[in-house]
Symmetry: none
Subunit: 205 residues, 4 copies
Amino acid sequence: MLRDGGQSLREHLIAAAARLLDRRGAAGLTVRDVAREAGVADGVLYNHFADKEELLAHALHAHIRAVEAALAGAVPQPGEGSLAGNLRVWLDRSLALHAAILPALAGLTTQPKLLARLAELPALPGGDPGVRAEFADYLRAEQRLGRVAPTADPRAAATLLVGVCHDLVLSRLLDPAGGPPQPDPELVAALVDTLLRGVAPAGPG
Amino acid sequence: MLRDGGQSLREHLIAAAARLLDRRGAAGLTVRDVAREAGVADGVLYNHFADKEELLAHALHAHIRAVEAALAGAVPQPGEGSLAGNLRVWLDRSLALHAAILPALAGLTTQPKLLARLAELPALPGGDPGVRAEFADYLRAEQRLGRVAPTADPRAAATLLVGVCHDLVLSRLLDPAGGPPQPDPELVAALVDTLLRGVAPAGPG
Amino acid sequence: MLRDGGQSLREHLIAAAARLLDRRGAAGLTVRDVAREAGVADGVLYNHFADKEELLAHALHAHIRAVEAALAGAVPQPGEGSLAGNLRVWLDRSLALHAAILPALAGLTTQPKLLARLAELPALPGGDPGVRAEFADYLRAEQRLGRVAPTADPRAAATLLVGVCHDLVLSRLLDPAGGPPQPDPELVAALVDTLLRGVAPAGPG
Amino acid sequence: MLRDGGQSLREHLIAAAARLLDRRGAAGLTVRDVAREAGVADGVLYNHFADKEELLAHALHAHIRAVEAALAGAVPQPGEGSLAGNLRVWLDRSLALHAAILPALAGLTTQPKLLARLAELPALPGGDPGVRAEFADYLRAEQRLGRVAPTADPRAAATLLVGVCHDLVLSRLLDPAGGPPQPDPELVAALVDTLLRGVAPAGPG
DNA sequence: TATGAATGAGTGTTCATTCAT
DNA sequence: AATGAATGAACACTCATTCAT
């Protein structure tokens, strides 16, 4: 991809790296790949970044911000709609986010240099911790409105929501056959229901 | 480690690779590392495996089986103990399993050759799908005993259980600071409670 | 270091390069280092010099002239003081000169391009050949005054003087431990004595 | 040059590197150059040496030993022949040694890693310090025989002898025109004479 | 069958030099 | 003239894989 003149080469490199991160993840990504994707010379990145990891950290950052920006506005408001419907929206939103982010993130677990560089960057406004916190905040608001049990633990519920996304996305990543891009809608509905009512039989609880 | 004569060199190589997989994960693992760990010559693996990936796929397989074997017997029996206590045991068990397996698995998402080799192997008796299925079976048994709501979806509950483990383990892997090896016990209790009762307010069910 | 307007950029670059040559020698010196030291843009040197080597040749030239200028006035006058004392002064002077010049020069033996550029420059008024010639001239003057044997060969004596400096400075450069900056004073005294009287036993001459 | 089967590849690599060291010095010598000279693959040296510097240190060691071996037997015996003749032989010998060694050594002054590796190797039986020590020993023996003044300082005389070699060889190295391979015989004779008698006028000693 | 030396393409990185502005 | 971003060949070094023994 050739560069359009409207952005600095630094941003152009970050964008090219972010594209590759999205497509192929962080593992096995070479600086030559990035240079080719950006349509520039091999060594050019060292005029703008200390090393490969600094570029990739910025690219990952940008990728996550881009994914979040694309999902903006989809957040249900407390008190509006049904609780089940809202949970479903949160789950869909979190799934979309993780489907776009986890492939790049999974290959990072074994790249300490990259993780360290990432930690140097300003905290992501959202990202993985972002959905978790936003969803917990939403639940607390619903709690105040009486639509969520006062004994419920928003942090635990948020962990279940995010965890399910990790699971569904990772399973697909590890499946060489690929699998369907969208999870089974029936499973999603059952997940929402389980989050809502739990598995215990109805009782004086 | 020297080879004891009781096993084939093939098995010996798989065991050595599995040890390294457990210690350091799949990324950055060289065939020289494996050969040194096994105490054999560099090129010997090509007499027993088509390539590095085939060996690692077998090693991963063996590693997962070993972790499962170490956890055998910890499975709560339906109808015995409290449901909450049993869920807690299942969660601990699943966490231990994923803590031992995910580090090796996470680095795999970007190694298609390895994933393909893994798919050629006989399906894992347990592994990630294993816990999921076993826990779902357990819930169905409890359902038959009336200790779990007949409307509960065992598959969804199992996905939540496994997902939470992915989340907790991955978060630690991605945290450059490391973080505590054990998750917060309060969070674990709240997770079990949420799985049991959900977040919806108590109502006519 | 910012440029003062009083000198051409060309001279400014030469001065900056000469400073680095003095500090770090010719090896491992990049054009970026020079540009940064001069406080100018990377490519500016190519407006004033054909290539890196031409700049460095000029810088070396300037460095040597600067070292010589700093030593000016220390030259013993023929007929004044003792011959031994004067030889000692010459040796000290030559040592100081070589200590300042050889580190930059030693790395040059393997840079043919730089040597060729250096040869294009006007012969150094002093430099290494400078001390040699000046000392030989001094000896010839002392010879005319009868304080040096008429059979002595000033050129040979000058070569011994300069050679000893090469040896002492090079040995220190090649010693990874570093070694003392000043040579052993007893050795220096013995060197002067040997230059004066030789090793042959006193005899009928 | 292809390898003859009679030596290990390790020795073959050392020999190839020593040839290049002799021809072109240590500066600007790449691992590819060595591999090409040895007629082997690029990366092969890392099967035998920790890094480039370890190989070059061994090569330099071998080169110096080879030069010394070629000069063995040329050492004058104390008490035999004339002192002047013997000094001349020592000077020739030292010159030959330095002419063969200094080109490789001069480029080393700026390679700290290589110098450190060299320091790890067993001390050279001879080498530069070798001639110096041997010549000083020779002078002491002549002193005991009364053919050298009891007041002479063998260490200083040896430093002058070695220093002159450094000077003559370095001057040629730094002369891009090359210059004659052999120094002016008249100068050599005058050097010997100066070492013998000094520059002071004949007197009561 | 086991060895381990040899291979060579590929890695991240540097840096003298160019050239549009 | 001066800039400094871009270039791309070169560097030291790694490692999966091969093959003569």
